[in-house]
Symmetry: C2
Subunit: 378 residues, 2 copies
Amino acid sequence: MKKPLEGIIVLEFSQFMAGPSAGLRLADLGARVIKIERPKTGEAGRQIATKNMFQDGSSLVFHTTNRNKESYAANLKSPEDLEKIKKLISKADVITHNFRPGVMEKIGLRYEQVKEINPRLIYATITGYGTKGEWKSKPGQDLLVQSLSGLTQLTGNNSDAPTPMGVAVVDMLCGTHFVQGIIAALIQRAKTNKGTWVAVNLLESAIDFQLEILTTYLNNGQEKPVRSETNNAHVLLQAPYGLYQTSDGYIAIAMGKLTELFNILKISETTLLEEPFENRNEIKEILAKNLINQTADKVLNLLQSEEIWCSVVNNYHEFLNSKEFEELKMRQEVKLQNGKKLSTTRCPIRINGQLLNSETPAPRVGEHSEKLNLEFEL
Amino acid sequence: MKKPLEGIIVLEFSQFMAGPSAGLRLADLGARVIKIERPKTGEAGRQIATKNMFQDGSSLVFHTTNRNKESYAANLKSPEDLEKIKKLISKADVITHNFRPGVMEKIGLRYEQVKEINPRLIYATITGYGTKGEWKSKPGQDLLVQSLSGLTQLTGNNSDAPTPMGVAVVDMLCGTHFVQGIIAALIQRAKTNKGTWVAVNLLESAIDFQLEILTTYLNNGQEKPVRSETNNAHVLLQAPYGLYQTSDGYIAIAMGKLTELFNILKISETTLLEEPFENRNEIKEILAKNLINQTADKVLNLLQSEEIWCSVVNNYHEFLNSKEFEELKMRQEVKLQNGKKLSTTRCPIRINGQLLNSETPAPRVGEHSEKLNLEFEL
């Protein structure tokens, strides 16, 4: 199968999570992604190991977000290397970077300069907070952006401390927006034959993520979002929306007729249901007390038969060893240069029913320098 | 400014959140997005109001995710209307739907059938769990997918119940993946002149979201991710990563040298720092006890001067009334058909420094039927 972005060359100066996760998606969609890395040490993300886990000299998270790419080693402060990079840029379709404002300017690779070398180039930049304003030189980092953008006030129960989401959610979202902007710019270029500067930043992605709750806030007299006292899952949704403990595990109850739910569970306080949002705390408390004495299986069977949307709450063991996970074929293996295998997940987009798999591992620093020197006569 | 997707026509059969949020992005990038809605009641999402908030007859969340679109009313069970829709399909570039497996087949609009009408069409589908396996007819809903995929085991502290993220994170992510697949397919079509079936599902998007933590699990002897006892923010990251209470509010501390941090705060238990991941609970507890007695301002100033990445934790009031939010110009107004204005946020992608704004509101059901009948001779 031909992949949609075959023939597109991306030079990735991006480091850490948001930028490289975008490069991974572009690569899985068929683009050729070449990391430009400083000689020897390479991208900074290679050394940031979670739980001290390294594979073949680089952190596991680096392998996760950089598989299916090539690596070209260059010292951007050396005039000789810089000339090679400029030659590469003249042959590329896209470059991405997430340096702080000012860094690429100093090297002589800001958009206005690079456009001279290659007027068809898509120049794509990620920053933390944009290029203006007081925050522009603040470190652009997931937890800080979660904290600044109000996001930590939405998760957990009302009496809990502000609660960050336990995945680098802003990095991941900003990476997806980056890909959207880059591919859209490629479409435009097909018509205009001209390049574009595509810019995203973590903070704007965090705002876009909250558009539903922010729009409510902005049109509802700036009333602060309030988490429910117990079993909170979404500040705007009425009971029963949340997770509930049963006698043998947690279940999720999302949607369905509350009167049916009370009926099935033989709960008598039905006057509360006249105002299901205003009374969400009381309703959730009653449900929680009722469900703690029943088994998950029994409750789920009862609720599902009445079309109340619910499910078990899995942990990683349960989910990853389930038949359903296996059927998705989301797991794939890449073979490292040292002969070891690494299990990871694949791209979540299917094209004509085909999975976008790739066994190509993350490159070693400069692994493809020689090959690229020959190919592009650098 | 010309927008990147100008000239592209998208027919949106999608409902609720994930599909329409993708349609919104395509529209903001310049595509013409026409919602195909059942007469009178329209898309189901129009009636699902959060906190009972309606504007001009539709829920506020509908307005949020459907601004900048047109609406064509059609009863897909009426042969006459279906003929019109097929004619529209013959002129369109993309159709999107999130019906459960089987629904479009019954109407006669499954991919194999629609391809006959328009071989260049991108046919884009969202499901909850794909089209195979036991879960395929389960309701595809954000909280249920969070629960099934293990995601709720990553947020909150270790002794907390499983904690869902308080935004429809899977819907939002899946919507972004949908856009990526659709635009990539448009690029491929420019070369092949052939359409494509692009498929995403909520569960695979939830898996992709967790790729870092899942890859660690898969290569680390399937060891369950463990949230820290206090101040948890990411299961894979060592102390201090987390939010901390000070005497006058919460602060976030992300990265920086731990020895510096202990030095600044005059904490003596430095032997703990030899194993910062293994000792993360003890380190966090000591930090928490130290910080509770100091003011946020004082601590942040001290830490920032030593290049420890940290920030205040804002609530919505603080963030939305900040100069920084204002400078981003993320807020925009749309003017509803009833004359009222609605404040919402804009697309987080900037093209050549330009913001992708649009004042066009969400349409009323069938608002553009007549215009479209004339334009496309339906």
